[in-house]
């Protein structure tokens, strides 16, 4: 089953995303920010990354840059979880190497639909 890295500093979002993904049969690695995420996927590869943008210590944009520099993450789909007003962040994330984004607020069904599309 595909493994998904889910990064969000908000515990409720993390719970919701993890619960939804696990319910759909994915394995989930969750992390509270960029630093945590990098340490948790060190030397591993995952099938998809979901990351919040605004986070303490290392934000989503910096995380995407770091991940893209890793050989294991060169072509891994990386989706930003971002709010509508975050247009600047969308393009900033895109230039950092993000595949796309899921606009907050989203519900579990929307999340799964997007992920299934990306994973094919």
């Amino acid at each position: 089953m595909p493994t998904i890295l889910a990064v969000d500093d908000s515990a409720s979002m993390r719970q919701m995303v993890t619960f939804t993904l696990k319910g759909a049969g994915f394995s989930v690695i969750d992390a509270v920010d960029g630093v945590d995420a990098l340490s948790k996927v060190k030397g591993k590869s995952v099938d998809l990354v979901l990351t919040d943008v605004n986070m303490p210590r290392m934000d989503g944009i910096a995380l995407i840059k770091e991940l893209r520099a890793l050989p294991n993450f060169k072509f891994t789909p990386i989706l930003m979880l971002t709010t509508e007003s975050g247009s600047d962040k969308k393009s900033e994330g895109k230039s950092a190497g993000a595949t796309g984004w899921i606009v907050k607020p989203f519900n579990p069904d929307q999340l799964l639909a997007t992920i299934k599309k990306v994973l094919g």
Binding site: D9, S10, A11, S12, M13, Q15, M16, F19, T20, G23, A24, D52, N54, M55, P56, R68, K74, F75, T76, P77, I78, L81, T83, E84, S85, S87, S91, K94, G97, A98, T99, G100, W101, K104, P105, F106, N107, P108, D109, L112, K117, V118, G120
Partner: protein
């Protein structure tokens, strides 16, 4: 799928309240002039999380409200809006509104919509006056574009899609997009391989293929754009209705280059944005009633059982102990399996160990309930900030001992009495800057909150350097209310105590800050209900100190163990000032049973603990023995003991609940070897010594 997202609401509320606390603390820092990126960023991040979460969990009122707040913060963060004190005040009010909204939603209560709309409108007004009002809300532009876009004629669309070479490196797969298009209608695809280099030059990480597609069916242009939305900056995309797509292919490609479809989407559209800003104001007000308390929220409130956050270190200790327990258990198993009488001692040892581990475990589980008092103190910076503005006073708040731990239940119940006392000190205690200046005091008044453990109690002090209690006025009022008789001669302390009498208020003007005379008596009753006490010390013109003492039945204490005869006692480490060997030259006897010891320039009374507790000591000879100098309530005493033992943390067990209150003893504890040791209440003991002294002097006088 149908996942019930209300199950995450508890977590959302908890983290939102934490976020609001962070916002408040940092807003206060901003107000104090600390305008730096970190501060603004933490405020923004907290607001942003609340907005995202509330939207996700269907709390649209909260999301709408936070959206405006977030926009303001975004402008401050980007430096296009200066940080003003009005701005900070408005945002502090917004924090309050959000806290109230979330509390109401969590508890299934009505939201105060009037207050929400009021602050919401204020935020909108502030936002409108901004240089960058039109900056955000590309969403409107997007929707406007979508509406303006031609709808599908039913014939379908011709789509020319030419990814840029690096598109694969963002994890985007053209095949996925083509598959998605295929799901929309009848799709025919032709690959353009013109750019494809010969095989030996081929870089597999580059995308050198383009596609021209015809999609037939009743599909909107928006649906097609949606599929390519992630890559709009990484490709050339041209979408045209099939009927109009009679232009030769090459020209289409050129057109696409000249006017990429991506452009209108990212371009800010100022006109519709202005419409949006004014439109959002009335909308939430109208929606509020229906959305105030959705059913899911009520359900969540019902199952809210409260939660506490526990430091990792405390959990680690527990895990360690569980490990020890498991080891002990397997050891006992082994003994039990092939038990013979010669293993009896081993069995007993094992059982003793099991008992010790279980007890330690119990104590440490208790510790989980202990929280630093900073949880209760944290609300005061804000309170003092708001009140001093309201009262036109200048007040500096200082806090110390915030890490002093107390039981969560006690903490929750002491919150309101503390607020009342602080309000009272601000309102009645500290004078206005003019008055202070006239009295030769610094303009800025000082309020100090202090907490510490003393004799198995937590002591919370509220100091102010204000005017102090007005003894004459209190006396007059008390006579008027018939609490005391005219001409009754009471010392000032007794008169000050009258303020805790029911129905007593000296404020000449009833203010909305410290209420209408229901107050101090309620404070005292609440504290008494917790088994504690409150007292006031005050000096006219200098200030007042309110001291709250609360029992700490579950407190952990850093203790010094000492022995008298065969009994072990624990003395709170903080009470010990020094320990010394008694030198004969410094002993002074006043009466037959009163001894003093000269400690540098002072005399301290010697307390023979073996007398106090009726124990047969190793030695009754002071000279050469050990004297432990302790301090309680500002008074010193020398405790004569046999031996000093180790220092350790002990869990206080209440004597009151297990036995009865004993003078000079604050509680008991069970030591690692299972014996019970009494914990000495130093303040009580020192008082006991003073009483004995007085008795002694009295006898002298009588004789």
């Amino acid at each position: 799928m149908g996942i019930d997202i209300s199950q995450f609401l508890d977590t959302f509320y908890e983290e939102s309240f934490e976020g609001l606390d962070i916002m408040e603390t940092n807003l206060l820092a901003l107000d104090a002039g600390q305008v730096d990126d970190d501060t603004i960023n933490s405020i923004f991040r907290a607001a942003h999380s609340i907005k995202g979460g509330s939207g996700t969990f269907g709390l649209m009122d909260v999301a709408d409200f936070t959206h405006v707040l977030e926009t303001l913060l975004d402008e401050m963060r980007d430096g296009v809006r200066p940080v003003t004190s009005e701005g900070v005040s408005l945002m502090l009010s917004s924090v309050d509104v959000l806290r109230d909204m979330l509390t109401a939603l969590r508890d299934g209560n009505e939201i105060d919509t009037a207050r929400v709309s009021e602050v919401h409108a204020d935020l909108e007004t502030m936002l409108k006056g901004s240089v960058a009002a039109a900056k955000e809300d590309q969403t409107v532009a997007e929707t406007a574009n979508a509406e303006a876009a031609p709808q599908a004629s039913g014939d379908g669309w011709k789509i020319v899609f030419r990814p840029m070479v690096q598109m694969l490196k963002t994890g985007n797969d053209p095949v996925r997009m083509i598959k998605e298009l295929d799901e929309l209608g009848e799709l025919s695809v032709r690959a353009d391989l013109d750019d494809l280099p010969p095989l030996e030059d081929l870089d597999p990480e580059e995308c050198r293929i383009g596609w021209t597609m015809e999609l037939k069916g009743d599909v909107t242009e928006e649906a097609i754009k949606e599929i390519f939305s992630w890559v709009e900056d990484e490709c050339e995309l041209n979408i045209e209705p099939l009927a109009a797509a009679e232009v030769p292919e090459t020209e289409v490609a050129e057109e696409a280059e000249a006017a990429p479809v991506a452009e209108p989407v990212t371009e800010p559209a100022t006109a519709p944005a202005a419409v949006e800003v004014s439109a959002t104001a009335p909308a939430p007000v109208a929606e509020k009633k229906e959305a105030a308390a959705p059913a899911t929220v009520k359900k969540a409130a019902a199952k809210d059982s409260g939660s506490i956050r526990v430091g990792i270190d405390k959990v680690d200790v527990l895990i360690n102990m569980v490990g020890e327990l498991v080891i002990t258990q397997s050891m006992l198993n082994q003994i039990g399996e092939e038990f013979t009488m010669d293993k009896l001692q081993k069995l007993q040892e094992g059982l003793a160990e099991l008992e010790r581990h279980t007890r330690e475990m119990q104590e440490n589980v208790m510790r989980i309930r202990m929280l630093p008092i900073s949880f209760a103190f944290n609300r005061f910076p804000r309170l003092v900030h708001d009140l001093s503005q309201k009262l036109n006073k200048k007040i500096e708040l200082k806090m110390s001992g915030e890490q002093t731990e107390l039981d969560k239940t006690v903490m929750e119940k002491i919150g309101d009495p503390l607020v009342h006392l602080v309000r009272n000190s601000l309102d009645h205690g500290i004078e206005t800057p003019e008055v202070r200046k006239a009295n030769g005091k610094p303009e800025v008044g000082e309020l100090l909150l202090n907490a510490y453990h003393q004799g198995g109690k937590i002591v919370i002090e509220i100091h102010d350097d204000g005017a102090g209690l007005n003894t004459d006025r209190i006396r007059a009022k008390a006579i008027e209310k018939g609490l005391i008789k005219e001409g009754e001669n009471l010392p000032p302390e007794k008169i000050h105590e009258l303020i805790f009498h029911p129905g007593f208020s000296t404020a000449e003007q009833v203010s909305d800050v410290s209420g209408r005379g229901v107050g101090m008596d309620v404070v005292k009753r609440n504290i008494k209900d917790l088994g504690g006490s409150v007292e006031v010390q005050s000096e006219a013109g200098v200030g007042s100190v309110f001291t709250i003492r609360l029992p700490l039945t579950l407190a952990i204490l850093d203790g010094q163990l000492m022995r008298i005869g065969d009994q072990t006692f624990v003395i709170p480490l903080v009470s010990i000032t020094e320990s010394l060997q008694v030198n004969e030259a410094y002993i002074k006897s006043i009466a037959s049973d009163t001894e003093l010891y000269k400690l540098r320039d002072e005399y301290v009374p010697v307390l023979r603990l073996h007398d106090v507790f009726g124990i047969e000591p190793d030695s009754k000879e002071l000279v050469g023995g050990l004297l432990m100098v302790v301090e309680g309530d500002g008074q010193y005493a020398g405790l004569f003991v046999d031996e000093l033992m180790g220092q350790q943390q002990v869990v206080i067990k209440s004597l009151e609940s297990n036995f009865k209150p004993v003078e000079g003893v604050s509680g008991a504890t069970i030591l690692g070897d299972g014996t019970v040791a009494l914990i000495i209440d130093v303040a009580g003991l020192v008082q006991l010594a003073r009483k004995r002294n007085r008795r002694g002097q009295g006898q002298n006088i009588a004789a």
